[in-house]
Structures are given as C-alpha cells and as structure tokens.
C-alpha cells in the first residue's frame, strides 16, 4: 500500500470519530423520542376525557426535584470533562462519580413515583380514574424509555470512570459519554412539561 493511501483525510467536523458517532446516535435517538412524544400528543389531543391526575404534591414537586437533580448532574458531568481534559484524573473520576450518584438518585425518585402510582392502580392498561387507559400506556412508555436511558447512562459513566482511572480510557471517552448524558437531560426538558405539567390538575 502506498504512503499516500495510508494518509488519513482530516475530519471536516474537526472532532474524533467516536464523538461524531455519538452525535449521529443522539440525532437518531432524538427522532425516536420525538416520535413517541408526537404519538402521545396525538392521543392526548384526540381523547376528550384525558386524565389530569398529577397534584402539585407529591407528583409535580417530585418531578421538579428530579429535574433539579438531572440538570445538576449535567453540570457535574461538565466538570468531569473539564478535569479530564486538564489531565486531572482523580478530579475527573470524582466528578464522574458524583454524576453517577445524581443519576442513581434521579432513577430512585422516578421508581418511587412509579411504585406509588402502581399502588394507586395505575398501569399500562388500567386507569383508576376510569379515564382512558392510554394515559398509563403513554406515561409509563415515555418515562420508561427515558429511565432506561438514565440507567444505561449511569452504567456507562461508571464503566468509563473505572477505565479512565486505570488509564484505559482517555478524556475523549469522558467527553463522548458526557454528550450522551446531556442528551438524556435534554430529553427530560420535554418530558417534564409535556408529560407532567400538561397533566397537572
């Protein structure tokens, strides 16, 4: 193979391929969440007796706390990326740990809310208010898909933190994981108003 063939063409985007791959995944995932939120909107608009079961306390307050936790975890992830890029490995690992902890707290608050709703009789196929059953299907479908992303993100952060501490992963890996985590936060910025606040009594 000639030397010319071995010369790699520089990326027109000026970023590493792993970061570009994450951006492409995020765009595809954004379309997925967009589709599921539009599907929810279709049912919401087309159903006359749609349930609005969420009281300020505990549900809206709980969801607001979850929003605070997730937004804060984005800042701690940014601090992890900044530390990793500055070569401060211990600090980077510490901030990744805080981010994972906040992600776990978000998931815990979410599951606590889910189980309280199960206890009241809500499920994907049952509405205890005798309203449309689609409420439970869309609520648990949308928040469940988001929760799956949060749990996946926490696992990914822990794996990257362990690898970064041992020198197996670089600051670029931390930054790419951060992109995913911020996207999880971004999706919640639509889930909170559309699924919680639009269904507040």
């Amino acid at each position: 193979m000639s030397q010319a063939a071995l010369t790699l063409e520089p990326s027109p985007f000026g970023i590493q391929s792993k970061k570009l791959a994450m951006w492409l995944f995020i765009m595809a995932d954004a379309a997925t969440f967009g589709a599921i939120l539009f599907g929810y909107g279709y049912l919401r608009v087309g159903t006359p007796d749609w349930s609005r079961p969420f009281a300020l306390t505990p549900t809206i307050v709980n969801a607001a706390i979850m929003t605070f936790v997730l937004l804060s975890s984005s800042v701690t992830m940014l601090l992890a990326v900044a530390a990793a890029q500055a070569g401060r490995t211990a600090s980077g690992v510490r901030w990744l740990g805080v981010t994972a902890l906040l992600g776990t707290l978000f998931a815990g608050l979410h599951l606590r809310e889910w189980f309280a709703m199960f206890h009241e009789g809500w499920s994907v196929s049952h509405n205890p208010l005798n309203g449309p059953v689609q409420f439970g299907a869309t609520f648990f479908g949308i928040t469940g898909l988001h929760l799956l992303h949060v749990i996946t993100g926490v696992v990914a952060i822990l794996v990257i933190a362990a690898g970064f501490r041992r020198g197996r992963f670089t600051a670029a890996h931390v930054e790419t994981t951060g992109l995913y985590w911020h996207f999880v936060d971004l999706v919640w910025m639509f889930v909170f108003p559309m699924v919680y606040l639009m269904n507040a009594r």
Binding site: P12, G14, I15, M27, L43, V45, L186, F190
Partner: protein, 102 residues
C-alpha cells in the same frame, strides 16, 4: 457557533447556564399553575422547552463551540423529521371533533 473549534466555556459559564435553566423550569411551573387554556399552556411550555434544549445543545453539548458544519449536518435533518410528524394533528383534531360534535 464558529467556523473553527473555539475555546471552551468556563465553570462560571456553566453555572450561569444551570441557573438560567432552573429559572426556565420555575417559569414552566408558574405558567402551569396560572391555569391558562390547554392550547396556551402547550404553546408556552413547548416554547420554553425549545429554548432550554437550545441552551443545552449550545453550552452543555458544546455545539456553539464546534465547527458550523457539525450543526448544519445534524440539526436541520432532525428538525425536518420532527416537522414531518406534524401531519398527525389534523386527524387528532378530527377525533376530538367526532367526540364533541362540530
């Protein structure tokens, strides 16, 4: 957004953005409990969510500091895909009209 990668924001910038986003969340809750009509509530909440998402993309995901070609390669396609989904609304409104009558 720049034509070439620029220097990254500082911790202070991140904290200012974090506070701004928390303020938007507070406004969303205030709007909800002002009890506007569902249409106005949806318009207000959706507008605030789009502003929040734009801030997250720009500052948290650093899109503002990447080359412009990255933005133009990614965002318009997703926006177009989401706009295409808007064709479902006339049928949703037809359903609600069927329930309520014209």
């Amino acid at each position: 957004m720049t034509t070439e990668s620029a220097s990254r924001p500082t911790t202070r910038t991140y904290l200012v953005v974090w506070v701004a986003m928390l303020a938007i969340v507070a406004v969303e809750i205030a709007v909800t409990y002002a009890h506007p009509s569902p249409g106005r509530q949806l318009a207000a909440l959706l507008s605030l969510a789009v502003i929040e998402a734009a801030i997250a993309l720009a500052y948290f995901m650093h899109l503002r500091y990447e080359r412009a070609v990255l933005f133009w390669s990614l965002i318009p396609g997703v926006v177009f895909a989401l706009l295409m989904l808007d064709q479902i609304w006339p049928d949703a409104l037809r359903l609600i009209t069927m329930h309520h009558g014209p």
